[in-house]
């Protein structure tokens, strides 16, 4: 690094080459820093634990067309049949599929007067029975599950009991136990919390209220069913479900078999696409930058063959020539990195204003510059070694 001063002055004196490269590095750092920040945001989002046994839950829909069918009764019969099938750990009907992007939600109040009482955040509202916890695969951390005789078939029943997520409990009653607490759904309807589950996400993966969910004591007779079994049994199970339920009542359509894992994948598809596109962009930018660096060094070696030979004649070792090119490009990279880092922060602020993004974490520009230094090393070292191997005789031989 002992040659920095003359290298800087010669860079300042040379024309377009370093400027173009500098601009390329500035832009790359600004874009790559923000892109990797967004990629990491999305990946973190996609990797959140839903609390639900996504892989094990096989869902499907039953459409009854026969008007003579008593839906409530049929629902109970069907669930009994599902639980009796081989390898089934648990089964339940549901009003909405976790992570599916559609379903029911509500807000409850902490007091009877909707005008004055504090409200809960928006909560996802599952209807379920004493079998639902087992079917979701969620863990009860406080209180108790529903008893069988507490389950009603009527969503408008006044005796509402709730299982709620710990996230919701902590939000509403930060320093006390939620179990036994009362909430109001309007002026007249009181609901009682009887248990708290560890984690159970709702239906909307982009919502900030994703962790706030409740299960209400209703055996809901709709279309959606969930069967929990090891994934390896799903394929066989699908046929067994069809056979058993169609034998019980052939006047219906049963379809749309899929695991919650697949449901989740579909909900996160946009994010996945974003991650893919941005990753490709990052790779492409780094590639273009490294090609630019390699190209410029190769061009410089061509242009400066005689100069390199002269330096060697004047006493430069091969190592001196190598470090000349490395230092030159590290300087461009560091200057570009600093400006690019500032630009990255400005770009991040714009993105934050116009899109729903958190503030750029400063570690990203820093890491990007470090990455850029690595790219520079890789891109420069080979052509620079070629330069170092230029014979000192080039001082007298080349024109």
């Amino acid at each position: 690094m002992l040659n920095i001063k003359p290298i800087v002055s010669s860079l300042l004196r040379s024309k377009s080459g370093p400027i173009l490269l500098l601009m390329q590095i500035i832009l790359s750092v600004a874009i790559v820093a923000n892109a990797s920040f967004i990629i990491n945001e999305r990946l973190t989002m996609m990797q959140r634990d839903s609390g639900i046994a996504e892989q094990e839950i096989l869902t499907f829909a039953i459409y009854n067309f026969d008007p003579s069918i008593d839906a409530t009764l049929q629902n109970k019969v069907d669930q009994r049949i599902l639980r009796s099938l081989p390898n089934v750990k648990a089964a339940a009907s549901t009003n909405m599929l976790p992570l599916s992007g559609s379903g029911w939600s509500t807000t409850l109040n902490l007091g009877p007067d909707p005008e004055t009482a504090k409200s809960t955040p928006q909560v996802a509202m599952y209807m379920g029975t004493e079998h639902t916890l087992e079917t979701f695969g969620v863990t009860l951390v406080e209180g108790r599950n529903f008893y069988a005789d507490e389950i009603t078939d009527d969503v408008n029943s006044p005796n509402i009991l709730l299982l709620i997520t710990k996230a919701l409990a902590d939000e509403v009653w930060p320093n006390e136990s939620a179990v036994g607490k009362t909430l109001w759904a309007g002026r007249d309807v009181q609901v009682t919390v009887i248990g708290v589950v560890d984690k159970m996400q709702g239906a909307w993966v982009d919502s900030s209220d994703l962790e706030y969910s409740i299960i209400q004591n209703v055996d809901y007779s709709g279309n959606s069913y969930m069967v929990r079994a090891e994934p390896k049994h799903h394929e066989a199970l699908q046929q067994q479900i069809l056979d058993a339920l169609m034998t019980e009542n052939p006047n219906r359509v049963i379809d749309n078999f899929q695991s919650i894992a697949v449901v989740k994948e579909n909900s996160y598809r946009d994010h996945e696409l974003m991650v893919t596109v941005l990753s490709m962009m990052v790779v492409l930018l780094l590639l273009i930058t490294s090609l630019g660096l390699t190209g410029m060094v190769m061009f410089n070696i061509q242009r400066r063959t005689k100069q390199i030979g002269t330096r060697r004649a004047l006493g430069a070792t091969k190592g001196d020539i190598l470090s000349l090119f490395l230092t030159e490009n590290y300087i461009i990279c560091i200057v570009g990195g600093l400006i690019g880092g500032v630009l990255a922060v400005l770009l991040g602020q714009q993105l934050m204003q116009h899109y729903d993004l958190p503030q750029l974490n400063l570690i990203y520009p820093v890491l990007t510059v470090v990455g850029m230094l690595l790219v520079t090393t890789v891109a420069v070292i080979l052509p620079a070694r070629k330069a170092a191997n230029i014979s000192p005789a080039m001082a007298t031989r080349s024109v």
Binding site: P6, S9, L314, G315, T317, P392
Partner: protein, 240 residues
């Protein structure tokens, strides 16, 4: 100080082998000013390159200051070039993006001198060639003769034992060539051994000793005594 014994240099390309030097023998004493002439392609540059450790040779022995340098590694050769040898090229070979001071400083940096020492030597060397006031100029702002004087300053700044010059006046008009030659003579008088390749017989005559290379071998050499200088002057007076 320099002895070459049966030096051979063969360039091999895919098609041909060129014997640039064959059984080349030469001894140069400390303090001499040797002018090398010869037809184009006869091996003058090859000889100078080998003498200056810019390239190796196929076989033979080369002693520099009594040390056999036939099998020197690359870094050692670079160090010897840096400390003992000054180079002057036909095309000046200044680095265009560096100013004069920075150009003269190049070998001093490789030598590892302190900033203060470098500064002192750069100033002294540029003053010696009459360009002390132009330290911050770029080479492109100078005439050819001035550029060559900067190159001489660069070669002198490291205080080398001997100076190798390959057609140092080849790109200069006669006035500038004479100035450069006078400078070289002054340097030689101060004790530096000089070997200079030249096409110009008048300049060659001003050296103490002339060597002619033909076909890769030393053909003849004549020892010129002093007192020849006025003849060159009259030649140039006649030309102008």
């Amino acid at each position: 100080m320099l002895t070459m014994k049966n030096i051979n240099k063969v360039f091999k390309t895919d098609l041909v082998e060129t014997h640039a030097l064959r059984d080349f023998n030469l001894s140069v004493q400390e303090g001499e000013f040797v002018a090398v002439t010869g037809p184009s392609g006869s091996g003058k540059t090859t000889f100078l390159n080998i003498a200056g450790l810019l390239e190796g040779f196929t076989h033979g022995d080369y002693f520099l200051d009594g040390v056999n340098i036939s099998n020197l590694n690359d870094n050692k050769a670079a160090a010897i070039r840096n400390e003992k040898i000054g180079f002057i090229f036909q095309g000046f070979n200044l680095i265009p993006d560096l100013n004069l001071a920075e150009n003269v400083e190049v070998p001093l940096r490789y030598r590892g001198f302190s900033a203060k020492e470098r500064q002192r030597r750069v100033k002294e060397a540029l003053e010696k060639v009459g360009l002390g006031a132009r330290m911050k100029h770029l080479p492109s702002q100078l005439s050819g003769g001035q550029q060559q004087r900067v190159a001489i300053a660069r070669a002198l700044a490291g205080e080398p034992r001997f100076l190798l010059a390959d057609e140092p006046t080849g790109n200069l008009d006669s006035l500038m060539a004479r100035q450069v030659m006078e400078l070289l003579e002054a340097i030689n008088k101060a004790g530096t051994t000089i070997i200079m390749v030249t096409h110009d017989p008048e300049l060659a005559r001003r050296a103490q000793r002339n060597i002619q290379i033909v076909d890769g071998q030393v053909c003849d050499f004549t020892l010129y005594q002093g007192g020849q200088n006025h003849q060159v002057d009259t030649m140039e007076q006649a030309a102008s």
